[in-house]
């Protein structure tokens, strides 16, 4: 230390204001590179005995914002600094050899890690300096989701259109009987339509966030498009609640009829009677409808859960969690939209007589016999049970 002192003093004596500014004692003095009397280090070594302010130091200084008369200042500066020259013990300054910001940033980006530190404001999220995951999320939103969504929705529409062209509408083979049987009661229909109507608005307003800027924005112009999107967003946020309630209700009222069983295997083997002709047996719901049920219940639950995470940002999770919730929400949503397009098709255009089930709740008996044979038998035997009862002894077939 004693041996270093003269060198230090000399270094500081000739240090330019800029160098002094960076911090008088500690860092500059404690650094080997700076105090070492090695000639080639040049300006950083301050004055290694030359007794002159190196020319390059002055030049180098000018752009950093140091006042122009650097040389003049250099003469007066050292005196003031003198005391501090003895004082500081050089702390081990071990980070000089560490990788630079660029390298750390690159490493973090490659590993997908965030660079975080300490912050003095209350917003804890602001402590993240760089989050490379943002770029991944961007790729997800702009590429993955648009591709998956576009392919799923357009692909499904194409399949349905093709199906309609090739197969046409599925008719009631035996023709309408004119007699009906109740398939869904008012409560079931109300639950279905509450879920369905909120789903449609949720789907449209959601897809608007993904595709609207490409499809609607050029048509409407920025102001109108923002108005539409704003209302869409409000609708999306509030309709989340009837949708969730609907999912829960549908699950409770229909789950008992949607447990997969052996009949479903046979139904699937027969191609559901759609691909090949014929009407395989089915109970209240056939295998296809069971699939739609479980897509709605399971998909809907996940979409709702991830949606609530998004609705209450950072309430339960951090940035990575928000981004993940968004990925789950976006992908499942577009897949559900595609699945529901098929569901809507078969319930309306695709099959004669099907819509009545959810419209009036009453379906034609022949339709029911063809598509839900086992269910009709069950219902009829139940009905006979109530009609015949213990007292009435009416001849069989009198009904």
């Amino acid at each position: 230390m004693m041996r270093l002192a003269p060198t230090l003093a000399l270094a500081l004596l000739l240090a330019t204001p800029a160098l002094a500014q960076t911090q008088p004692g500690a860092p500059a003095a404690g650094t080997p590179e700076i105090q070492a009397p090695v000639p080639e280090v040049g300006p950083a070594s301050g004055g290694q005995g030359s007794g002159q302010v190196p020319e390059s130091t002055i030049q180098g200084d000018t752009p950093t914002g140091t006042p122009a008369p650097a040389a003049a200042a250099a003469v007066t500066a050292p005196q003031a600094r003198q005391p501090s020259a003895q004082a500081p013990t050089p702390a081990p300054f071990s980070d000089r050899g560490q990788p630079s910001a660029e390298e750390l940033e690159l490493q973090a980006a490659l590993r997908g890690e965030r660079i975080t530190g300490r912050i003095t404001i209350p917003d804890a999220r602001a402590a993240t300096l760089i989050q490379p995951e943002g770029q991944d999320w961007r790729t997800f939103h702009n590429r993955t989701l648009t591709l998956v969504g576009g392919i799923a929705v357009l692909g499904m529409l194409a399949i349905l259109a093709l199906f309609y062209l090739v197969k046409g509408r599925i008719r009631i083979d035996a023709g309408a009987s004119g007699r009906t049987i109740q398939r869904f009661n008012l409560f079931e229909r109300a639950a279905h339509w509450m879920t369905a109507s909120s789903f449609i608005v949720l789907g449209l307003s959601g897809l608007n966030l993904t595709f609207g800027r490409y499809l609607l924005l050029p048509l409407l112009g920025p102001e109108a498009f923002t108005a539409v999107s704003m209302w869409g967003k409000i609708a999306h946020n509030y309709l989340a609640f009837p949708f969730t309630l609907g999912i829960v209700l549908l699950f409770l009222i229909w789950v008992k009829d949607n447990i997969p069983d052996k009949v479903d295997l046979a139904w699937i083997k027969a191609g559901g009677g759609m691909l090949r002709h014929g009407h395989p047996d089915a109970k209240r719901f056939n295998a296809g409808q069971k699939v739609v049920f479980w897509i709605t219940v399971l998909g809907g639950t996940l979409v709702a859960l991830s949606g609530y995470v998004l609705i209450f940002p950072f309430a339960v999770t951090d940035m990575a969690g928000q981004q993940l919730a968004h990925i789950v929400h976006g992908i499942l949503s577009v897949l559900m939209v595609a699945a529901m397009l098929a569901h809507i098709y078969i319930g309306t255009l695709g099959m004669e007589g099907a819509f009545h089930a959810m419209g009036s709740g009453e379906v034609d008996l022949n339709w029911a016999k063809e598509h839900h044979s086992l269910w009709v038998e069950e219902e009829l035997s139940k009905a006979r049970g109530t009609v015949t009862g213990p007292t009435a002894a009416r001849p069989l077939g009198a009904d």
Binding site: D95, T116, M230, P313
Partner: protein, 198 residues
């Protein structure tokens, strides 16, 4: 035209938070919003560094890429600005921004975040330059007055540099050559896909 950039020389930043204060004051930024902040990494350990960070005004800006209403635009000086009249407060730009620059006036339950606010590089917004409407929505427009961002202009250690990318990179390079070391320019790799080679 200049390509405006920010550079924070972390070997100089002393975490005085004056840039943060200057920004808040210049633009009357509301309570809870920090367009600029100082993050200290390796706090209390060897190699501690403080970095003043705001919007970096990225090349190929992620925020602009994900905005569902496309409300961002880039000025001739490559400053990334947005139109608050078009913003729907969806929060997507905050998910995508690598630097956490977008800010929202409210916590955001039920999507009620309010319009996004972020550093404008003291360049205002799409409204008429230096009008009251522009000031209330976006803050001061120093660029229109021929001045650079206030945070960098008043930085006492000149750690924070703002200006044409080439020019501030040259200043930084000279510093590094002169003092013999440099920790590098935080954010440059992510924001500008380039580094300040010394």
């Amino acid at each position: 035209m200049a390509r405006m950039k920010f550079l924070c020389d972390s070997d100089r930043c002393i975490e005085c938070n004056a840039c943060v204060t200057a920004c808040k004051n210049e633009h009357e930024v509301p309570w809870g919003i920090n367009r600029r902040r100082v993050v200290t990494i390796n706090d209390g350990k060897p190699g501690e560094r403080s970095i003043s960070m705001a919007c970096m005004h990225c090349t190929d800006a992620p925020c602009a890429a994900v905005c569902p209403v496309s409300c961002f635009y880039t000025t001739a000086d490559a400053i990334v600005l947005h139109d608050k009249d078009l913003c729907i407060g969806c929060g997507y730009c905050f998910y995508a921004c690598p630097f956490g620059a977008p800010q929202y006036p409210r916590v955001g339950n039920f999507g009620g975040r309010g319009k996004m606010d972020k550093c404008t590089y003291c360049a205002g917004g799409p409204q008429q330059d230096n009008t009251i409407v522009e000031y209330t929505q976006y803050g001061a427009n120093r660029i229109a007055e021929g001045k650079l961002p206030l945070c960098a202009e008043m930085c006492s250690t000149k750690a924070l540099l703002a200006g044409d990318g080439e020019m501030i990179a040259t200043i930084y390079r000279e510093r590094v050559q002169q003092r013999g070391y440099g920790a590098g320019a935080w954010g440059w790799h992510t924001a500008y896909r380039e580094t300040v080679t010394v």
